[in-house]
Symmetry: C2
Subunit: 334 residues, 2 copies
DNA sequence: CGTCACGTGGCAAGCGTTTGCCATTTTTGC
DNA sequence: GCAAAAATGGCAAACGCTTGCCACGTGACG
């Protein structure tokens, strides 16, 4: 095994090519600025030496790191997979590097991430942030920040159209003859959870349907039994869960208790995650354009620039949602 | 909106606390080295100014970035969620930062990631790397590298025990009366795919069972129909898929064609991903300790040090697997 | 009371790059 | 051919931090 090779620096390349370091630097950053022949020679030598510019040194001088951070509450949650994918794609297109950080559903962890990573990145995409408004404002003073599925005064954000989405769900259930619905709420700090419930309640009222909120439940498979039992105890015929994972957990418990979905209870979720098409029965759910959301967020961040000058419109960009009707929703029991 | 505030530097803190910059630096990096009272004052001032050390500057001096990179072929693939989670946890424990990069199942992209990110990180965890051995060796000359579910001469790696796992699968199927199995192969470059097939074939031979490989298939839901149709055409009673996603895709197609799993065909997957417990029917699959793998990989990387001195044993660390029997496997049709 | 060790803090160099400024050479326009 | 302008490349400072080295002051020891 060869000794750990020292990485070639710009000076090494300069020496080998017989030019000054500054010329090498320009060859990489301002291609037009140096003579064509010199440029070619430098590039050749650089390739030969395996030279790659040191990002740390670059960042130090310019203050720009060409790195964006995406913070999600839980990387293993398939809901965020789409956001990650979209952000990843948009970042690559912009020629930047993306760092993904896991806040572990914990505001303190999230704040720590923002503090520690702050100087190392040009901006943050905070997805479903659990941080209070003033913490977000503070973060936005030091870094460009774009929110996804969370709104805060003065900050750019990308949100799904939960109002229309909720109306679609309610209309769907109403058209199946349901007269009331139960909403299984997610975490209390969840902004999107609040929006979902607000949308459902408003739409239900407009449609003359009853709407009750249960919970909060942690939106995991494991919360399914508690939620399902509560639904059965209440005698509900239609239940809308905070998200698909919870919905699937509920359906699993209902099956265990011999309750047939959708014949006896209709179940609707939010997110259309991986798995909602092959669970049993396949889940009716409100699909969000998560990949778009991630991509849009990064694009907005790039447009904002590292200073985070939000002089432009900070009006929320609203992404459409779409109700995917599968087999978990059916006619109300008469 | 306030003007974009300049980030406080170590000099600002030093000035505000009435000490030299070096003292502030030491207060952060060598707590015992400065007077207790001075230390306290510095910390207080630092907190007040919202100071956080600039990682780029730190990295420049020390050559260490305190950042590790985890490269996965596809972040949205739930199989890698466990690896990510485990790596994330171990990295946090070690007080480091983790960067996750998506190679998009593309060797060229993977190589580019390693090149571009190389100077910015202290080491790489390459998961299911598609890179050829010599590219891996080159990468390992410049950075510490640990492989997950991939082996290469001279490099540290964490692998699942596919030999034992394959034997468990074969024994299970044999005990259900199956006399032969069909393996639905994954991508040709997949190292773990090769190991899976090798293990299955060896175990089948030992058990006196037939074993045939079909494919390769891209391991996605969408490949299910093609694979399922091939299985039916061959009249197989037991099928083992390269991974759970493919297995679920196959089961979906089988259901569409009116074939009952497991009564007519038994299906077994690899990975035990999110969803394999609630698909229909729940999938029998070989569970790997993916979270452990991620954590172990990071720990190994940390132990290696930034120089990547693999003087120590580079023997593969083998992680046990476990067969999770659910309802997709049953008695062979007689 | 002198010597020594130790605790504590400052100075300054250096990490690899970028960039403003200047000097030199080449090109252009007349 | 000459002056002016453009092209090209070098010098050196700066980015924020770490760290080897040194200086100073204090307490311990003989």
């Amino acid at each position: 095994m060869p000794p750990p090779r020292r990485r070639a620096t710009i000076t090494d390349v300069a020496a080998a090519a017989g030019v000054a370091a500054s010329t090498v630097s320009r060859a990489f950053t301002r291609p037009g600025r140096v003579n064509h022949a010199t440029q070619a020679r430098i590039m050749e030598v650089a390739a030969e030496l395996g030279y790659a510019p040191n990002p740390a040194a670059r960042a130090l001088e310019s203050g720009r790191t060409n790195t964006l951070a995406l913070v999600v509450p839980d990387v293993t949650n398939p809901y965020f997979a789409g956001v990650i994918k979209g952000a990843e794609r948009a970042t690559a297109t912009a020629g930047l590097t993306l760092v993904i950080a896991d806040a572990q559903e914990n505001p303190a962890t999230e704040e720590q991430i923002v503090t520690r990573l702050g100087p190392a990145v040009d901006g943050f995409v905070l997805t479903a942030s659990r941080l209070p408004d003033d913490a977000l404002r503070r973060a936005a003073e030091l870094n460009a920040v774009v929110l996804v599925n969370r709104a805060a005064p003065g900050l750019a954000c990308i949100v799904s159209d939960f109002d229309t989405g909720a109306r679609q769900i309610v209309d769907h259930l109403a058209s199946l003859g349901h007269r009331a619905l139960v909403y299984l709420g997610g975490p209390a700090e969840s902004w999107s959870g609040a929006r979902r419930w607000a949308g459902l309640r408003a739409a239900a009222q407009q449609a003359g349907m009853g709407a009750t909120r249960f919970g909060p439940y942690t939106p995991t498979f494991a919360s399914g039994p508690a939620a399902a039992d509560a639904v059965l105890a209440a005698g509900a015929t239609a239940v809308v869960a905070h998200n698909d994972i919870l919905a699937i957990g509920v359906m699993t418990r209902l099956a265990d208790r011999g309750v047939v979905v959708p014949d006896q209870v209709s179940v609707v979720g939010f997110d259309d995650i991986f798995g909602s098409d092959f669970c049993h029965p396949p889940l009716t759910t409100l699909a969000e354009r998560t990949e778009d959301a991630g991509a849009r967020a990064v694009e907005t961040l790039v447009a904002l620039g590292p200073a985070g000058r939000a002089d432009r419109d900070v009006a929320p960009r609203v992404l459409p949602t779409q109700l995917v009707v599968r087999r978990s929703s059916g006619l109300a029991v008469s």
